[in-house]
Symmetry: C2
Subunit: 358 residues, 2 copies
């Protein structure tokens, strides 16, 4: 029997209750696929600040180091928003985990599920045009981590600065990730940059072109970030894989997520070169609905499926989970936010959706 160890970091807000459903699904996978997931829960985020004094306690980091993968819930909330920036859950935990484990490859799929088009903020004909995008975002370099960063000078001439920086190696490895993903999808990579202004974008374009030569079956296009945000609105079905730097990927993946109108369905994977990864829902901690048992657990369940696929190579199990999710949606077992206002009384609870997937 194969064994895997998972560091479970449920975090804040709806994190714990949706994580419970992901755990139910993992229990079912253990039985069906003769595999064992040894799971250990660790505190993270605001909860860890309250109980341990910091958003990413060293025992949590150590637990993650010893695991095969991190299953992450969500963190943050108004309670911790007044802390100094460096101590806040998002930065202190999420950015630190990303850079500590060199999780450079961030995959964020966004699709509009048939039958759920009315949730999209886009016009009906656009929402129905077959939207299925995978944003591949570089996650450990660029302007997020580039040095120098600082503040200098006096009075009105005081200035702050950040450095956007990319090496060929950093660009190449994320471009390879995008082309590999496109080969398994519809064979198209759209690389997002601002090469008419930024030198980093020009290098980005050069290296991406080089990588493309190794994937003659994949088509490569380039688009400026300003145009990308327009095209995502106007004609999102034109995109298959969107390859982005850290900052542009932050923007593009959120716009794509919103375009689906169903953030509660969107999972994400952040991986390093060894296949180790952190898997988390794309939506936030939603403190306003935390504890009510109405949050959608699907994004968390699909994050677990990505974990099985990418960090454990359990393709069949991952496929089975994804199929079960689609069947659950098709059966109309839906949490309230997926239903029209006048049908909200038919909403299923968080745990009913989890049970149906199981």
């Amino acid at each position: 029997m194969s064994q895997f160890s998972i560091a479970v970091l449920a975090g804040d807000g709806i994190g714990p209750e949706v994580m419970q459903e992901a755990n139910k699904v993992l229990d079912a996978v253990e039985k069906k696929f003769n595999v064992a997931f040894n799971r250990t829960a660790y505190p993270v985020g605001g909860y860890a600040i309250d109980t341990e004094g910091e958003a990413l306690p060293s025992k949590t980091l150590l637990g993650c180091e010893q695991a095969d993968a991190i299953l992450f819930g969500s963190i943050g909330g108004p309670k911790w928003d007044t802390l100094p920036l460096e101590q806040r859950p998002e930065r202190a935990a999420l950015l630190t985990l990303r850079s500590h484990f060199d999780l450079f490859s961030n995959l964020r799929p966004a699709r509009i599920y048939p039958g759920l088009e009315a949730l999209s903020p886009l016009r009906e004909d656009i929402a129905k045009s077959g939207v299925d995008v995978l944003v591949v975002r570089e996650l450990t370099s660029g302007i997020y981590f580039g040095q120098p960063k600082g503040r200098e000078g006096e009075g009105e001439e005081e200035f702050a600065f950040d450095t956007m920086r990319y090496s060929k190696r950093e660009i190449r490895r994320i471009a390879v990730a995008a082309f590999e993903a496109a080969q398994k999808r519809r064979g198209k990579v759209t690389s997002v940059d601002k090469a008419n202004v930024l030198l980093t974008s020009r290098l980005w374009r050069e290296v991406t072109e080089e990588v493309a030569k190794d994937y003659p079956d994949v088509e490569l296009d380039h688009i400026y970030i300003d145009n990308a945000t327009m095209q995502i609105m106007k004609n999102p079905a034109q995109f298959d894989v969107m390859l982005c730097s850290n900052l542009f990927g932050d923007i593009v993946s959120d716009e794509c997520a919103m375009m689906t109108g169903s953030m509660g369905l969107l999972a994400s994977a952040s991986m390093n070169e060894d296949g180790f990864g952190l898997y988390e829902p794309a939506g936030g901690s939603a403190p306003d609905i935390a504890g009510l048992g109405i949050a959608n657990p699907i994004a968390q369940v699909l994050s677990a499926a990505m974990m099985l696929r990418f960090s454990m190579n359990l393709t069949d199990a991952a496929d089975a989970i994804e199929k079960a999710v689609i069947a659950t949606l098709e059966a109309g077992v839906l949490t309230g936010e997926l239903l029209p206002d006048d049908k909200r009384e038919n909403a299923s609870t968080t745990s009913q959706v989890g049970d149906e997937i199981v």
Copy 2:
């Protein structure tokens, strides 16, 4: 009689034909408001590359220096896209003009006109919610112009870098522009940043808060750029003035423009501290429809109206042009792209729309 001199830079693609209509409208204003616009045309963009060897010939720059304002058409096209980046129309002409004249304050209004909601790529209820946003973008600093920028190293460790940089003075003057604009509108400024990651954004937030104290009648909110691109899709009516740095404003203003679904109606102003400015349509040079007489001249005409308002203080004349544009839209005198596919045979030509406005 008041006299103003205008440098007219029609440029490429549809530039010349829409400029002709703007000139007609300015002729009408001269008669009605007893004012003289001394206009001199100068080559710019691809046309200038072809005829003078460079996108911004020195006689054009000199002509702009001697004028009270620049009325700009549009530049660029596939013909010049293979030139080295520094020589291409957009960079060589547009970015140089912006920095030469210190045109730091870029105003880009985007609204969904009543009756034209069906053009918006947004869902009908969102498009009809009363969308009227003014993007105020800093245009002469940030990562577009920040030093150092460069490329260093060897082999796979070769890297490129750009610097995002803002001084308090630079932030303050654009924040003041946003608050002044909000006072004349609905009294709300939403400042867009990435203060959870960037030090420039943190300084941006600090200075914006300081400026807000001088405008107690204006409400100030902050939003992260990733969330901004989501909210523009989900609920654009929540925004009045969006205050952005150069890069974020590039992204936000284009997304807002696309959200209206009618790029041919959108004007923009780029001004310095002396009231000198460059006024141009938000859309591009649209080489595919150039010369056919079907391009929408309204963005160019509204750019002329902004010029009268901001660089010449001719408020009545600017109001009159804007009213005439609304009346033209209401009368259904529309170019083809504003009409549903099955009504395209009712389309008016570029010059018919110009005549109607006159």
